[in-house]
């Protein structure tokens, strides 16, 4: 075997180790879209609460009747649209590589993310029920960030940083009560968009 063959051989080993243990079908562009959905959702929430008037005035407080329901519906719609977009675009990307999206690597990733995600989701629901609305934006950012850091072992290493930044924003959101929506927009909107562009540029 000459030099080239040997290096190729080692390349095959590396690529198999990575392909088998990391889920790399997540589309960068889907992250950008998901960020856009988050910003759209946040704009709807902003308009509902603050109206079209000048910045300083609120039309409503979040605790007013009906507002919470409206915000929950918007949030659930954003979540559903994001999930559908993420799954469909991952499936398309996997198909191009002649793979499927349900494989040992994606299972490991989902399992690693599931515990923090479900905990955060349930905690948010409990907080809504108990009326601690000021904590929601922070809690969602924190637990989503934790889920990303956990899941990042099984996908692009950039996901780890996305998670850590979200955790940071979640903590900051607690320090500045009343600005939850802005932190939420920064975390779920802008961070997703920036992350998506980086992954798209780098790997696609």
């Amino acid at each position: 075997m000459d030099q080239k063959d040997l290096i190729k051989e080692i390349g095959h080993i590396r690529s198999m180790m990575e392909k088998s243990s990391k889920f790399l079908s997540i589309s960068g562009l889907s992250a950008v879209l998901i960020g856009v959905y988050a910003l759209l959702g946040a704009s709807l929430a902003y308009l509902k609460v603050y109206g079209f008037g000048k910045l300083a005035y609120r039309d409503h407080y979040v605790t007013d009747d009906g507002i919470v329901h409206y915000l929950i519906v918007v949030a659930v719609l954003v979540l559903l649209a994001s999930l559908v977009t993420g799954v469909l675009m991952a499936r398309r990307k996997a198909k191009r590589a002649k793979q499927t999206i349900w494989n040992p690597a994606s299972k490991s990733m989902l399992f690693a993310m599931a515990v923090p995600l479900v905990t955060g989701g349930l905690l948010a629901i409990l907080l809504i029920v108990k009326g601690y609305l000021a904590l929601i934006a922070s809690i969602l950012l924190l637990f989503y960030g934790l889920a990303l850091v956990n899941g990042s072992m099984y996908t692009f290493k950039e996901v780890r940083w996305l998670g850590i930044l979200k955790i940071g924003l979640g903590l900051l959101a607690l320090l500045f009560p009343g600005y939850g929506l802005w932190f939420w927009m920064a975390g779920f909107g802008f961070l997703h968009i920036i992350y998506g562009f980086i992954v798209y540029k780098k790997y696609e």
Partner: protein, 98 residues
């Protein structure tokens, strides 16, 4: 030049790749291996058999939703053999730089 670590078993591309996958994962099932390696059932099965006979992997058969599910795991012997083979490849590359 010590080539005693070089392992003929891993001269076969598919066997080398199977072992690479088992090194990076605790276990892997037959259909996932097949998808990832883009191999035929027969080719994959016969090479898995060779690795099993060498004692490099163990097989665990079970049923998931009443469909047979076969999982493969590396053994300590297999891990050692693979690591030695990597060292041999590394030595070969180093030697050619001299």
């Amino acid at each position: 030049m010590d080539l005693s670590l070089y392992n003929k078993i891993f001269e076969n591309r598919l066997r080398l790749q199977i072992m690479s996958i088992l090194m990076a994962n605790e276990f892997y099932d037959f259909s996932s291996l097949k998808e990832l390696l883009d191999a035929t059932d027969g080719n994959l099965a016969s090479n898995l058999k060779t690795l099993e006979k060498e004692g490099y992997l163990t097989v665990e058969k079970s049923f998931v939703d009443r469909k047979p599910n076969t999982r493969y795991m590396k053994t300590d012997k297999g891990r050692k053999a693979f690591e030695n083979h990597l060292i041999a490849l590394e030595n070969l590359i180093k030697q050619q730089y001299k």
